[in-house]
């Protein structure tokens, strides 16, 4: 293997490519060649470097630990001549330290926790390795966990380890992962399926994408270990059809796995075999529900099935099936290689490990973050998001996606963990944090969410199909100055009916933000209805049919 004195990592996630990362990579290679440094410096594409809220290209220089951002094709010659050739950092382009705190792993050690509440386990390799190069993943201790599982552990040991780690599913419901595996294993059958739910469609969620684009092997390794544990023979990654780059990187990763013997027949020379392929969705939010997803793979309309039977006993093609989220699988390699007691040392009781969140809305810094459970919501907004934009007042936070919950500023001290959040009728949900400042209108926000669910309801059951449409209609009336006092009661009633009687979690959770809004921001609804006034000035209150 060739030795290079310097590595230049070019962020090439979807956003960076959009900002011209590929052109910057070409320019870097060209300038390095012109400077005669091509045998000393290597340019490598990598995942996100954390500058995800700007249309800018970022590059990281190792071992110098310097990040340059923004990098344009026109600034490349200066960086190459000054820094790479003469060893002088181009200070004008080097990024301020506080942003580096967020991105550089070495600064996330325990003693830096006050500065930076992030802890990178799942995103350890993102922005450090080339996601399209399996050798780099292996060099970063990749597939060591698989080796350990196959050669030192029985499937039962693996399940026990995952159980003791107290890992809970990261898809939203938070079901204990080890238990799910345990339920799946004893069910008989020559074919058993392992499905990765990568149908990340919850509005405001893009954390799984960060793993798939930045470190696809991590979740694949987790899937292979899961297959070994439950006796899985075939696997599917069900991914959104819109995630083009993720599909491309996962496919490359799978192809390489077959070549290296991590997938296919007799993995690593053992008698364990596992086949894995990608199944692209075609645009249906409801397919994030596991039984709808299974129907979709079977080539049917993505409508949910009656439960029970649950997938562990009767899933894809009526065979035992394990369905876990991308982030859940990505947790597995670290649990197996470092052990469950190590994993238990991170986070708090009942919520172990770290959690990814997509942080966005009216904050100064937006992007994907990884925090240990127990960090408070306020800490995230203040220390990672650098506070509310334009020094405005915080109005509230939508936590866990459009089907999640609504937090008012007084609830910001709540630690992010399953138990504490449940106390305020919230949960980590899909893993998104949308910050709203004082200029936002709660009726408008609820209406937007309602429009989404009206569109995405699959129409199978009446409470959801009719309920989403009714809620949408009533909120439209309120937002246009045509609301009636009794509308609030109607909204309340419809929401409750949907929660009680919808067929699947889509309908059961569709009204949850609205329901909390009606309680926590009651006065704002009253203002709209009784005084024909939108306090935030967002709604067009004098809208009539003629407009």
């Amino acid at each position: 293997m060739k030795f290079y004195r310097m590595h230049v990592l070019v962020a090439q996630d979807t956003r960076s490519i959009m900002a011209g990362a590929k052109r910057v990579e070409e320019a870097l290679n060209e300038e390095i060649r012109l400077a005669g440094l091509e045998d000393e410096i290597r340019v490598i594409p990598t995942g996100s470097l954390g500058f995800s809220d700007k249309d800018q290209v970022a590059i990281a220089i190792y071992p110098d630990n310097i990040i340059y951002c923004p990098v344009l094709v026109s600034t490349v010659p200066e960086i190459v001549k000054e820094h790479f050739l003469k060893g002088r950092v181009v200070k004008a382009l080097a990024h301020p330290m506080e942003q580096k705190e967020v991105t550089m792993e070495e600064r996330t050690s325990e003693n830096q926790m006050n500065l930076d509440v992030q802890k990178r386990i799942l995103l350890k390799n993102v922005g450090k390795i080339d996601p399209e190069n399996i050798q780099e993943y292996i060099a970063a201790d990749g597939y060591i966990a698989l080796e350990k599982a196959l050669f030192e552990m029985t499937p039962e040991n693996v399940i026990e380890e995952v159980k003791t780690s107290e890992l809970r599913g990261r898809g939203g419901a938070g079901f204990p992962t080890g238990l799910k595996w345990q339920f799946t294993r004893p069910n008989p059958g020559t074919e058993k399926y392992v499905i990765c739910n990568a149908d990340e469609g919850e509005p405001g969620t893009f954390k799984d994408r960060e793993i798939m684009e930045g470190d696809p092997h991590k979740m694949i390794e987790g899937m292979i270990i899961a297959a070994y544990a439950i006796g899985g023979t075939h696997g599917y990654i069900y991914i959104r059809g819109e995630y083009a780059l993720s599909i491309q990187r996962l496919q490359k990763a799978i192809d390489d796995c077959y070549e290296y013997g991590f997938l296919g027949k007799n993995i690593l020379g053992t008698d364990f075999s596992f086949e894995l392929c990608i199944h692209a969705g075609a645009g249906a939010y409801v397919c994030g529900e596991e039984t709808a997803l299974i129907n979709s793979i079977e080539g049917k309309r993505g409508e949910p099935r009656k439960k029970p039977p649950y997938p562990p006993s009767e899933g894809l093609w009526q065979k035992p099936t394990l369905v876990n989220n991308v982030e859940t699988f990505a947790n597995i390699p670290a649990i197996i290689s470092h052990g469950s007691s190590w994993y238990q040392s991170i986070g708090v009781e009942g919520s172990r490990g770290t959690k990814l969140f997509s942080l966005m809305g009216d904050v100064n810094w937006k992007g994907t973050i990884e925090i240990p459970f127990g960090t408070s919501v306020g800490d995230i907004v203040q220390n990672i998001g650098h506070g509310v934009r334009y020094d405005r007042q915080l109005k509230g936070i939508i936590l866990g996606g459009s089907s999640g919950s609504l937090l008012v500023p007084e609830e910001l001290t709540t630690p992010v963990d399953f138990h504490s959040l449940a106390q305020i009728e919230a949960g980590p949900g899909s893993g998104s944090i949308v910050v709203m400042d004082e200029t936002r209108c709660i009726v408008d926000i609820c209406l937007n969410i309602a429009e989404f669910f009206r569109h995405e309801s699959c129409g199978k059951c009446t409470p959801c199909r009719e309920g989403t449409a009714q809620i949408c209609h009533l909120l439209e009336m309120i937002a246009t100055g045509n609301g009636l006092p009794e509308d609030l009661e109607h909204l309340e009633k419809i929401s409750q009916t949907m929660m009680d009687s919808s067929f699947c979690p889509l309908g059961q959770t569709a009204p949850s933000v609205l329901k909390q809004a009606l309680k926590k921001y009651h006065q704002e609804f009253i203002e709209h209805i009784h005084n024909n006034n939108c306090p935030a000035g967002v709604c067009n209150m004098n809208f009539t049919e003629e407009d």
């Binding site: 979807t14 956003r15 959009m18 995800s52 809220d53 700007k54 249309d55 990340e200 469609g201 919850e202 509005p203 405001g204 969620t205 893009f206 994408r209 959104r240 059809g241 819109e242 995630y243 083009a244 199944h279 692209a280 969705g281 075609a282 645009g283 249906a284 939010y285 979709s296 793979i297 079977e298 080539g299 049917k300 309309r301 993505g302 093609w317 997509s358 942080l359 966005m360 809305g361 009216d362 937006k366 992007g367 994907t368 939508i398 459009s402 998104s432 949308v434 709203m436 936002r440 926000i445 937007n448 969410i449 429009e451 989404f452 569109h455 995405e456 699959c458």
Partner: protein, 142 residues
């Protein structure tokens, strides 16, 4: 049996190969005959998923997001702007057959909202000026 399994992917293949980016009725009937499905079943599937179209579409498909984060970043105005710029409403195709405008659910680019995709290429931090620039570059036959 193996082939039957992946109806969605076969529909993707038909649509990707079609120059008007849609699922021609004739092809769909052929597919259902091949697998012994009723055409109604396949029609039910193709109309369930938003990425499939039973109608011919333009050369480029613009998918713009209007969910939460994009909504908070004023996506509605941009949808109207695109509609007037292209001279077609959401779901329609321009008269020159170059663009079809569609709404999409969250594209997962919330940190650079408002966002859209043209075919497989994503665009974020959209403004009216950015949209002009992007649309013009496609018109010039990028």
């Amino acid at each position: 049996m193996e082939e039957k399994k992946h109806l969605l992917e076969q529909l993707h293949d038909i649509q990707d190969a079609d120059k008007n980016h849609h699922l021609p009725a004739k092809k769909v009937v052929e597919l259902s005959e091949k697998h012994g499905y009723s055409p109604a079943k396949v029609y039910g599937v193709e109309t369930f998923y938003t990425m499939y179209s039973t109608q011919p579409r333009g050369k480029h498909i613009i998918r713009i997001c209007e969910n939460q984060s994009c909504h908070m970043a004023n996506a509605k105005c941009l949808v109207h702007y695109l509609e007037s710029k292209l001279g077609t409403s959401v779901g329609g195709t321009t008269t020159d057959g170059l663009f079809t405008l569609e709404l999409s659910s969250c594209l997962g680019m919330c940190s650079v909202a408002p966002a859209m995709m043209i075919d497989d290429v994503p665009f974020g931090n959209l403004t009216e000026d950015r949209i002009d620039e992007i649309i013009d570059s496609y018109k010039e036959g990028k």
